[in-house]
């Protein structure tokens, strides 16, 4: 039987091609994602583990903040230089170095153009000390104020040479320095810019704290383990420091990278899963058709004594073969994809050339697991149907595949659909608490999706019939035949359209949510944006007091409202606390209070958004105990509750106090945002010019008006939206392959009919049109169901997310109509090859095939 399966598989390789391609695409996405994330992981952890010192001593923090919030406050924890000597004196320590290490600096050249990367990778600054991993390749080390060395990659990239005058900008101010040397690293550089200055300058100018270091590193003497030295240092210094060995550093670095990469990996795998799911429909259709075409042959096998199980097994063996071939090709394509991504991100300045592609054993296992399993699942139903073929089928003249009635399916689907819509309605109307609403929403999405997949065949009759209603009038006999052909096999049409439906339902839902989010934010901005200009730093970093001072002196600016952040823990969960100038905040951001007022915030109380307040059970007068990063603890009282901000809310909610209150607990927090209001009657043009001049030396600061701000938010939403669409395109592509697959197999099945039509005078052009119209009907049918489903999900989702400030519902009809029109075009495109094949049908051979 295995031989028979193999022969069959090879005999039908043309028909298997599209199914193989579907498996290939899904598997390629899965394995590509895995290989790429493993490679990045290794590249970054490899660097951090090889650069980490034997033992690293840092000031102890109350907790480890989330990686993306680390730079918000601008606080840099430090330890006094005196510790270096204490560490050096510990037995087993060969040398101890005080390190000033700063992230997110800005380095500009004499034209005020940034020298560092502008693509998101950080610019780092350090004090110079003898470090074997850093090697001078040109010039000399910085020994006095005004000297600087820079890494070779950045120097080359930005055309910087020794003797060039640069400025290093930090929140504490701007430091002029001349390039005196160029360095390389023994460990490779994944795209950051590094500058080194002498220790005194680093402490005084970059850090703003003379005599302080951010980190102390210790090299252990030969023969002593890192752990032993770690314990001895701990004994010498006491509990107020965090002391980590090289291994611990590497491990925590690896964790950070993988937790960050994990999100991306899971998102990509999610899309791969979707593509695979859509592929199932295609494979299911292929096997159904193959089994239907081979009814007589399978009947013969049964007549010759093959058992039902053997028949099932022979079909499933073919599925395994298909899965294996598709997975093998997919794995190869996935590795290619990862290589492509690797070279792609190098053009964004992340240089991974030092790291080879990492293929963990898990990757091929996942590739074959996914590929083979998916094919088996998809082929299971057709295989069972094959087993039910009676030996009599071999003897019958024409094997008419029995058409099971759709009654049970319709009943089950209707029940599910009612339940699904009920759940969605429930989610939309009972969104008091997020957990219930999210549960209802999730249940509703799953139930309605399954319902439409189940209802696919009976619905295809209904919808295609309706859609094709004008076809006989418009296209005559050809129109009528195409409309009838499209619903001839409702299961096949249902499955083909189902694949498209799933992909497009997501497009619909995401389009609704994105449009609603944009509209809500715009409305929010209209309501709250009271300032004329907003100044923020690029890359989630504070802008520093130097900018604040400069801006204050500009004539025509009436008020400058400062905002700073501090990271704190409440009941073990991290939140970001904002501190604002209460005197002018009403004018700058028009806070939307549900309870309390700015006066309460000015009085030292805390403001929290309504959703967080509800979730945490807080009301006016509730005490909140905040643990700050630097160890300070403050017990504040809730004095005001605000409307939740649209989409801009930070994890853990939106919390605000007065600047005075914030400074009390986080005295080193830096200005993060500045809201500028111009004086009444001030010449806006003059103010703008003065502002531009003042900020010329600060490329890290962005100035935005209300319109700029809106554009930025819309741009961000659209970027995410297009990225999601691009990933969904894979699933849509596979769905379109499914349409091609169904049409080609249908054309083969109907060779005789097409021959007859040609014999009695149907032109090639008419035959082609017939196939194209059928294709358009199937595609638009799938799109209609998908978009309908997506709209329902999107609307229910928006209602649930009112809790998160998506208060406006906006349905992007243009997008929806464009997708619908696009699906018609996709239908036409899918029909190109099958229509060509059908039009080329040779009349005589078609009629002669008995």
């Amino acid at each position: 039987m295995i031989k028979a399966s193999l022969r069959n598989f090879l005999a039908h390789k043309g028909r298997m091609a599209l199914s193989t391609l579907a498996v290939l695409l899904g598997v390629a996405f899965v394995s590509g994602t895995l290989v790429f994330s493993d490679t990045i992981n290794l590249a970054f952890t490899g660097i951090s583990s090889s650069t980490a010192a034997d033992v690293t001593i840092k000031p102890k923090q109350a907790f480890t903040p989330e990686i993306e919030d680390r730079a918000l406050s601008g606080e840099v924890p430090t330890l006094p230089a005196s510790i270096v000597a204490k560490v050096a004196a510990v037995p087993g320590v060969q040398a101890a170095h005080g390190q000033v290490s700063l992230q997110n600096l800005t380095v500009v050249d004499k034209d005020n153009k940034p020298v560092g990367p502008t693509t998101g990778a950080p610019t780092l600054g350090q004090n110079w000390y003898d470090n074997p991993q850093v090697r001078l390749v040109q010039g000399h080390a910085p020994t006095k104020a005004g000297e600087l060395v820079i890494d070779q990659a950045s120097a080359r990239h930005k055309n910087v040479h020794p003797g060039d005058a640069l400025h290093v900008l930090t929140p504490t101010g701007s430091t002029p320095a001349t390039v005196v040397g160029i360095v390389t690293f023994s460990t490779g550089n994944p795209g950051v810019t590094m500058v080194y200055v002498d220790t005194a300058t680093a402490q005084q100018n970059l850090l703003g704290k003379p005599g302080q270091f951010t980190t102390i590193t210790a090299d252990t003497a030969p023969g002593t383990t890192h752990a032993t030295v770690q314990q001895r240092i701990h004994a010498a210094l006491g509990d107020s420091f965090s002391i980590a060995t090289k291994e611990e550093q590497a491990q925590s670095a690896a964790q950070q990278v993988s937790s960050f990469l994990g999100v991306v990996t899971y998102a990509l795998l999610g899309f791969a899963g979707l593509a695979v799911l859509v592929g199932i429909f295609l494979i299911l259709n292929t096997f159904s058709m193959l089994v239907a075409q081979r009814t007589r042959e399978l009947g013969l096998l049964r007549a010759l004594g093959a058992g039902r199980r053997q028949v099932t097994r022979s079909v499933l063996t073919e599925a395994v073969l298909l899965g294996a071939v598709g997975s093998t090709l997919g794995l190869g394509a996935g590795i290619g994809l990862a290589a492509l991504l690797k070279s792609l991100i190098s053009s964004f300045g992340v240089d991974l050339s030092g790291t080879a592609l990492v293929i963990n054993p898990l990757t091929p296992a996942a590739a074959y697991g996914v590929g083979v399993l998916v094919t088996l699942v998809a082929a299971y139903l057709p295989a069972r149907r094959a087993a039910r073929i009676s030996p009599m089928a071999a003897l019958r003249e024409a094997a008419a595949p029995p058409v099971a009635p759709l009654g049970r399916r319709t009943a089950l689907g209707t029940v599910l659909l009612t339940a699904g819509l009920g759940l969605l309605y429930g989610a939309a109307t009972h969104h008091a608490t997020l957990i219930t609403a999210a549960g209802l929403l999730g249940g509703g999405i799953v139930a309605s999706l399954v319902a439409l997949v189940v209802l696919g065949p009976p619905l295809s009759r209904l919808v295609v019939h309706g859609l094709g209603a004008p076809f006989p009038k418009l296209f005559g006999a050809v129109g009528r035949i195409s409309r009838l052909n499209a619903v001839r096999n409702p299961r096949r049409t249902g499955a083909t359209a189902g694949a498209l439906m799933i992909s497009l339902s997501l497009v619909g839902a995401i389009a609704v949510l994105a449009a609603s989010l944009t509209m809500s934010i715009n409305r929010d901005v209209d309501n709250t944006f009271g300032a004329d200009y907003v100044l923020t730093g690029n890359g989630q970093q504070p802008i520093g007091h130097e900018v604040t001072t400069k801006v204050h002196t500009i004539p025509g600016i009436q008020s400058v409202t400062r905002q700073r952040y501090a990271v704190a823990h409440l009941n073990g969960f991290q939140l970001v606390l904002a501190g604002v100038d209460v005197a002018t905040v009403d004018q700058a951001v028009k806070p939307q209070y549900v309870a309390g007022s700015t006066a309460d915030v000015a009085a030292g109380k805390v403001m929290v958004d309504e959703t967080t307040a509800k979730a945490d059970g807080l009301r006016i007068g509730s005490p909140v105990e905040l643990h700050f990063l630097n160890g300070n603890v403050g017990t504040l009282t809730v004095g005001a509750i605000s409307k939740p901000p649209a989409g801009a809310g930070k994890d853990g909610g939106s919390w605000e106090v007065s600047l005075d209150t914030l400074t009390k607990y986080a005295p080193e927090a830096q200005d993060f945002t500045l809201y500028l209001n111009t004086a009444p009657g001030a010449d806006k043009k003059q103010v703008q010019t003065a502002l531009d001049t003042a900020l010329a030396g600060h490329p890290q600061v962005t100035v935005q008006s209300q319109a700029d701000y809106k554009n930025q938010i819309t741009g961000q939403v659209n970027t995410v939206l297009y990225l999601v669409y691009a990933l969904l395109a894979l699933a849509i592509l596979i769905a379109v392959l499914g349409v091609i697959n169904t049409l080609s197999l249908s054309v083969v099945e109907r060779t005789r009919e097409i021959g007859l039509l040609r014999a009695i005078g149907t032109s090639r052009r008419q035959i082609g049109r017939m196939i194209r119209l059928e294709s358009v009907l199937i595609a638009v049918h799938g799109a209609l169901l998908g978009l309908g489903l997506g709209l329902a999900w999107g609307i229910a989702g928006q209602k649930v997310l009112t809790l998160y400030g998506i208060t406006a519902l906006s349905i992007p009809w243009t997008t929806i109509l464009a997708v619908l029109a696009g699906s018609a075009v996709a239908g036409l495109a899918s029909a190109i090859l099958p229509a060509m094949k059908a039009a080329r049908t040779k009349v005589l051979t078609a009629i002669a095939t008995a």
Partner: protein, 257 residues
């Protein structure tokens, strides 16, 4: 051998004609001649049966005359149109407008009703059927009460009658029938043949029918006998017995069969 055909009859009374029609497959050693310079003509209003053992070229002759197959050399005419010169587009139009077809089996579209199948050639051409004529045809084949049925709901004989009605409905100049009774039992076959006969007698239709059945052939006005790609004999006003007798003489003549 083909002396008996009325090649030089007046043009306007000729519905179809073959002149030195040759069809060969392959070349050199493997060359197989299906039609060997066949001369045939069919008068208007005539019911001609083509007979011959399988492989004698009888189907090929019909296919070439009907514009379904292309000849290697020679000429075929439908009316005064030389179809051996036509490109696919015009050939298709010619089949649509001037020729009716009845095949052995599977010749209806399963998705269409009986009536829709009958009017299909006109629908494809985008023409309105002549309702009076259509009624005549439908009544002649006796399908009035089956018009809404789909092919799967009809018996084999009824399906073939639908096919006949389809061939007739567009008033073609000529109908080609390829073993129209081949898949039918004798009673249903007789019905179809009677109907073809009456369409010639009463409606003035021209019919060319390929058959292997002497009884079927006996309904024709004239029977042409083909062997080895050539017309070897013909019989006017045949009866089943006379056809059978003639067939025996061929078999007796030492033909490899």
């Amino acid at each position: 051998m083909s002396t008996a055909t009325a090649v030089d009859a007046p043009q306007q009374t000729i519905a179809a004609r073959a002149q030195g029609l040759t069809k060969a497959y392959g070349s050199g050693e493997t060359r197989v001649v299906a039609l060997d310079a066949v001369q045939v003509s069919v008068r208007r209003g005539e019911f001609v049966a083509i007979m011959g053992p399988s492989g004698s070229g009888e189907s090929t002759l019909m296919h070439c005359l009907a514009g379904l197959d292309t000849a290697t050399s020679g000429h075929a005419f439908i009316g005064e149109t030389e179809i051996t010169r036509l490109k696919d587009k015009h050939l298709t139009q010619l089949r649509r407008d001037k020729i009716g077809f009845i095949f052995q089996a599977f010749n209806l579209l399963p998705t269409l009703t009986a009536l829709e199948n009958i009017t299909l050639p006109m629908d494809i051409a985008g023409r309105k059927p002549d309702q009076a004529w259509l009624d005549t045809v439908i009544d002649t084949v006796g399908l009035r009460d089956r018009l809404k049925h789909r092919p799967t709901e009809l018996s084999g004989g009824q399906q073939q009658r639908v096919a006949c009605a389809r061939a007739l409905a567009s008033r073609p100049e000529i109908i080609f029938a390829d073993e129209p009774t081949g898949n039918l039992d004798s009673r249903a076959g007789a019905e179809v043949l009677g109907f073809l006969r009456s369409s010639v007698d009463n409606l003035g239709q021209t019919i060319v029918m390929v058959t292997h059945d002497p009884v079927a052939a006996s309904h024709a006005d004239r029977v042409l006998f083909l062997a080895d790609g050539q017309v070897v004999d013909e019989l006017c006003d045949p009866s089943a017995d006379s056809v059978l007798d003639l067939m025996r003489t061929f078999d007796g003549a030492g033909r490899r069969s």
